[in-house]
């Protein structure tokens, strides 16, 4: 995609989102859209490490919850406004991501994946025992009175999430197309060979884990205001981690557009199923779609589309 077209598309989507808040009043749509966007942001973030660099992160829910609990703690302690909370969530996620990056020095492949899962459970245990943010009981959040010029707070949250997601997509695209992204791809294909060819593997991996962690922290930061009641069960939900893995795998991991396609497809399906069938079924669907896709089309939708396109070109 050409640069101008890409930025134009982003601006158009954002404008459409803003216009929507002027037309539609029903809060349900903003709820549904917020969840889809949150999942997209998580999928884009996961893909930066999982898809571009080839390190599987099972602990996405841990990063997400760190963002959410940073908001809970700072909101309780200082009452900061939302933009600062989002920045703080991103900073905490990024720092922990950096730590995770150093872990890749010792742990490769499977062991890294298990370590991320371990990290998420250790953080969950810490939060469960941290009474200031509510511990295992959870804590309530008051929705702030002010919501700029929007009709309701959820409308504003939706626009904020839209902006964050678009920004993440832009970052992901830049990483994918840049020299840095080619370095990451080299690590994914063969880390030793990449190191031997002069790719600064450690630095690139650190950037990759840090960007992933920061994005997931950012995704989690507005969450407490969205649900108004946070407890470890909802913030560390396995569903979040499964979505973050399933969406890029279904869409295709090698290209920046893959997680976006996967997230929009799976997220929309989930919301439709939630309304028409039941909210438990929408959880099941993502698991089934994940298994079916990686068994039958391991390259994802983008991979299949590229294959078809190249086949026709010949």
């Amino acid at each position: 995609m050409k640069s101008a077209a890409f930025w134009g598309a982003l601006a158009a989507i954002f404008a459409a989102g803003l216009a929507l808040t002027g037309v539609v009043e029903n809060e349900y749509y903003y709820n549904a859209l917020y969840l889809i966007l949150q999942a997209t942001l998580m999928a884009v973030a996961w893909n930066i490490l999982g898809g571009f660099t080839g390190y599987v992160n099972f602990g996405s829910a841990g990063f997400f919850a760190m963002g959410a609990y940073t908001t809970v703690a700072l909101n309780k302690a200082l009452g900061l406004p939302l933009p600062f909370l989002i920045l703080a969530g991103g900073a905490v996620g990024g720092l922990v991501g950096l730590g995770l990056g150093y872990l890749t020095l010792r742990l490769k492949g499977v062991y890294f994946a298990i370590a991320t899962l371990a990290m998420a459970i250790v953080i969950e245990t810490l939060v469960n025992n941290w009474s200031y943010v509510g511990g295992a009981k959870g804590s309530y959040m008051l929705t702030p009175e002010k919501h700029l010029w929007f009709d309701s707070y959820i409308q504003m949250l939706f626009v904020v999430m839209l902006l964050l997601t678009l920004a993440a997509v832009a970052v992901s695209r830049m990483l994918n197309a840049s020299r840095l992204g080619r370095g990451l791809a080299a690590i994914r294909d063969d880390e030793v060979a990449a190191e031997c060819s002069g790719v600064p593997t450690l630095r690139l991996k650190l950037i990759s884990t840090m960007v992933m962690g920061a994005m997931m922290g950012v995704a989690g930061a507005p969450f407490p205001f969205f649900v108004t009641f946070v407890d470890p069960v909802s913030a560390f939900n396995l569903f979040i981690a499964v979505n973050a893995i399933a969406m890029p795998m279904i869409g295709g991991t090698a290209h920046w557009i893959g997680p976006v396609i996967g997230a929009l497809l799976v997220g929309t399906t989930q919301e439709i199923v939630k309304v028409t069938v039941s909210s438990e079924m929408n959880v099941l669907i993502v698991g089934v779609m994940l298994v079916v896709f990686i068994t039958l089309a391991p390259q994802g939708i983008v991979g299949v589309a590229l294959k078809l396109w190249r086949g026709r070109a010949k």
């Binding site: 599987v56 499977v110 994946a113 370590a115 899962l117 990290m119 025992n129 994940l290 298994v291």
Partner: protein, 291 residues
């Protein structure tokens, strides 16, 4: 604060718990330790085993451990089938690392959600005469709901160890782990052997599941707490070593029991991961490593 009887009880409870952990981890010690298949869905299969024990126990009043033994052959067939799919989709095309992981992650999630859809998130338990009883030796308690799983798990571990080291098929499984190509040159089919071994690993999940529900009530998401434990045990024991796995399970059981007694039960889930992280950082080959 630190009294002798409290300490003794914590250690004994930890050893009994650790023995049970061995039954939980032994399937993974075969599948992950010997075959290098990262079956993170293994605890989910254990939960399925626990639910089968619950269903048959509440319907017909059968003994949960016997149900587990009876369900093992069925689990064996299911495991063989899953390995077939795994082989065709991932191993044959050399994509087992990333896609295979995600595959088992998805399987784990599907099992959990299906169980929740059918049985809800209520805790389920089984009835058996021995579950409420306790033997006492001086001031140390041996609750039978822990002692029976310990005995069954120890027998299972001994049986699997004998099977792997004495029988032809068991040695073939170890040979696959050591050198797949050499095995092929001897005219054996590694895929068939791995399929057999994977089935064996899943079959142990039926027994471990029945032990799990003897120890305490079970709900679908309990399995997740065991992911860290089983991998910690297999890695600490040294990939593929059955004796090492058993000792590692006892160590983890004792440490968890101590933390639970002296620090607080809400901290015990983090113990397994602490052990795992320390092992990976300090001695990745484990206590009795295969390399």
């Amino acid at each position: 604060m630190l009294s002798a009887d409290l300490l003794a009880n914590a250690v004994v409870a930890g050893i009994l718990l650790g023995g049970f952990y061995a039954a939980v981890a032994i399937g993974l010690a075969i599948v992950f330790g010997q075959l290098d298949i990262v079956n993170i869905a293994h605890p989910a299969f254990i939960i399925v085993g626990a639910y089968i024990a619950y269903i048959l126990n509440s319907r017909f009043g059968l003994d949960p451990v016997l149900i587990g033994l009876a369900a093992a052959p069925v689990f064996f067939l299911v495991g063989a089938l899953i390995y077939r799919i795994y082989f065709l989709a991932f191993e044959r095309t050399g994509q087992e690392s990333l896609s295979g992981l995600a595959f088992f992650f998805g399987v784990m999630f599907i099992i959990e959600v299906v169980l929740i859809l059918i049985y809800g998130v209520d805790y389920r338990l089984v009835q058996a005469d021995y579950i409420g009883q306790t033997w006492s030796l001086g001031f140390v308690d041996f609750p039978l709901r822990m002692l029976v799983p310990f005995a069954v798990a120890a027998a299972l571990t001994a049986g699997i160890h004998a099977y792997l080291s004495r029988t032809f098929m068991g040695r073939a499984i170890q040979a696959v782990a050591q050198d797949r190509l050499a095995l092929q040159l001897m005219g054996a089919d590694p895929v068939r052997i791995k399929q057999w071994a994977f089935g064996l690993g899943i079959a142990t999940a039926a027994i471990a599941g029945s032990l799990l529900i003897v120890i305490g009530p079970v709900e679908p998401s309990v399995g997740r707490q065991y992911i860290g434990r089983v991998f910690a045990i297999v890695v600490l024991g040294g990939m593929g070593s059955i004796q090492g796995m058993f000792i590692a399970a006892l160590i983890l059981g004792v440490v968890e029991s101590m933390v639970s007694t002296f620090v607080g039960p809400s901290w015990s889930p983090a113990v397994a991961f602490g052990v795992l992280a320390l092992t990976l950082a300090l001695r990745p080959a484990g206590l009795f490593g295969r390399q």
